[in-house]
């Protein structure tokens, strides 16, 4: 009986350990890897959509209003991915970091900017 209890306890412990590792380690790491670029892309897209929306709303042009609605679907996607990342256990700070990184990705490196000012020959 004790032997059986010991075996049962060990099995349960093992299952819970695997689930815990899965939830706390495997899931966040996998989601972090899978969403790394898509999330940053969506940050940029949603940022762009909100920016366009701001100006289009001020124009109050019926021709543009529907196009703005469609573009804002990018923000829906962004929100959805963000929620998935949070549910998966990724910390909000990490998401903020990716948001900042997304903006950096679309900035020019100083090397590229200064390259055109160098003498090629004299």
């Amino acid at each position: 009986m004790i032997n059986f209890m010991d075996k049962y306890f060990k099995s349960v412990l093992m299952v819970f350990s695997i689930l815990w590792i899965g939830k706390e380690v495997l899931l966040p790491v996998t989601v972090a890897i899978a969403t790394y670029y898509p999330y940053m892309d969506l940050v940029r897209k949603c940022d762009s959509a909100m920016n366009s929306s701001w100006f289009i709303k001020q124009m109050d042009d019926t021709k543009l209003n529907k196009t703005e609605l469609i573009q804002m679907l990018d923000c829906h996607d962004y929100d959805k991915v963000r929620k998935v990342m949070l549910i998966s256990g990724l910390p909000e700070d990490y998401l903020s970091y990716l948001g900042l990184k997304a903006l950096e990705l679309h900035q020019q490196s100083s090397d590229r900017i200064v390259e055109q000012h160098r003498f090629i020959e004299r």
């Binding site: 899965g22 899931l27 996998t30 899978a34 969506l42 021709k63 196009t67 469609i70 679907l73």
Partner: protein, 416 residues
């Protein structure tokens, strides 16, 4: 143990599958269809009204050259059936021209200084304005506005009927050249400053020709079979016959987009679906290319280069302002419908865009075309600033970021 592991894999793959991250392309297009209230209407059921008894007569009138002053031009000269109902030229060549394609441009005929258009979708009851400047249009009260005035439109079956006879009354397209001797009946009798007078004169001339047993006997017989009373003949009968033929023969063409709207989700490729979302979204195309025919039938300028010829003084083309005389309408043209657009180049009122990519990119960046453009004249080069100044402000709101998005957009256009 294995079972727990499988569950874990399932949960992880659910969270990491792309479907769970964002709306699928089909889901987004479903939103597009809902927001724009796009319907897959039966083309034949949404045609303008026409008389089926006149189809045969319309076919003959469309193809015969005897309506032109020099017996050398028919409707099918510039709307070639084997070329998707266009002539494939930047601008058309009317009377005096021979042959097809580039050879026609060199044949010495009279230039018709605008790009010819296809007939796909032209018979739709959604069509509100014909020709680049919209000289035939339906106003908000359902009244046809045309150069003929209100007194002569009583017998027309439709807006398309009115538009159909315009070329027959145009000097460069059908009438012929004014000469001191050996002038054709058409130019002598019909040419007048006012289209209303041209209409009456043409009705009288063609009634006389139809009643004489000459070249017109075939058309006469077909019109009689169609129930036309020749004693009461007017140009509206020609218009009604032409529009019947165009409606029946050319107007309806099922596209991949139509099939997609009908529920065939594989009718569009993934790239076309991405392009469709851009078209109705951040590329802002649907702002003007709206509705079933992809045109708002309003007038805009994308600052197309003019080329060497135009219908306004000095070879320029003032576009809509030729009709309204209003300064705000200068260099604006009716938004062209986009049905079958991939097969109907070159593009623009003056045909200056060789490829679909050229014209699409010109919406986003009017400078690019000039990397390869050769100014056709000193006048064109000097005048272009005025055209650029009229460029529609709606074009400043697109939000594309990469050439691959432009390629997606073009793929979608191919599905229309």
């Amino acid at each position: 143990m294995m079972k727990s592991f499988k569950y874990l894999i399932f949960i992880i793959s659910f969270f990491t599958s792309s479907a769970s991250f964002s709306l699928s392309l089909d889901q987004k297009l479903a939103r597009v269809i809902q927001i724009y209230d796009i319907k897959n209407t039966n083309c034949r059921e949404s045609n303008q009204s026409f008389d089926r008894a006149l189809i045969a007569a319309g076919k003959e009138i469309f193809r015969t050259k005897i309506l032109s002053g020099g017996n050398d031009v028919s409707c099918s000269t510039c709307h070639i059936e084997s070329k998707n109902l266009i002539d494939g030229l930047k601008v058309s060549v009317g009377i005096g021209g021979t042959e097809e394609g580039a050879a026609r441009l060199l044949s010495g005929g009279t230039i018709v200084p605008r790009n010819s258009f296809t007939f796909v979708g032209r018979a739709s009851n959604q069509f509100k304005a014909y020709f680049w400047g919209g000289k035939i249009q339906l106003n908000d009260n359902g009244i046809i506005i045309s150069p003929f005035g209100e007194s002569v439109d009583k017998k027309f079956d439709s807006l398309l009927s009115v538009a159909s006879i315009m070329p027959i009354l145009a000097r460069d397209e059908f009438l012929g050249k004014v000469k001191f001797f050996n002038e054709s009946d058409n130019i002598r009798d019909i040419n007048d400053k006012f289209y209303q007078s041209r209409y009456e004169a043409a009705s009288t001339l063609f009634k006389r020709k139809l009643k004489s047993d000459g070249d017109f006997v075939k058309i006469k017989d077909l019109l009689l079979e169609g129930g036309i009373n020749l004693d009461e003949f007017s140009m509206a009968d020609f218009g009604n016959a032409l529009s019947a033929f165009i409606s029946d023969e050319f107007s309806c063409k099922e596209s991949s987009w139509n099939r997609y709207l009908a529920g065939d989700t594989v009718a569009l490729s993934e790239q076309q679906k991405r392009g469709g979302i851009l078209f109705f979204g951040k590329a802002r195309c649907a702002g003007c290319h709206a509705g079933e025919l992809f045109s708002d039938f309003d007038y805009h300028s994308i600052a197309s280069p003019q080329g060497l010829v135009g219908i306004s003084p000095l070879g320029q083309d003032l576009g809509r302002a030729n009709i309204t005389n209003h300064p705000k309408d200068r260099y604006k043209f009716r938004t062209p419908p986009l049905l079958d657009v991939i097969n109907t180049g070159p593009y623009g009122h003056s045909g200056q865009f060789e490829s679909l990519k050229d014209v699409v990119m010109h919406h986003f960046n009017p400078i690019l075309i000039f990397e390869k453009y050769e100014w056709k004249s000193e006048l064109e080069k000097i005048q272009y600033g005025k055209i650029l100044g009229q460029r529609d402000s709606i074009l400043t709101f697109y939000d594309l970021h990469s050439e691959s998005e432009v390629d997606d957009l073009i793929e979608f256009l191919k599905s229309l």
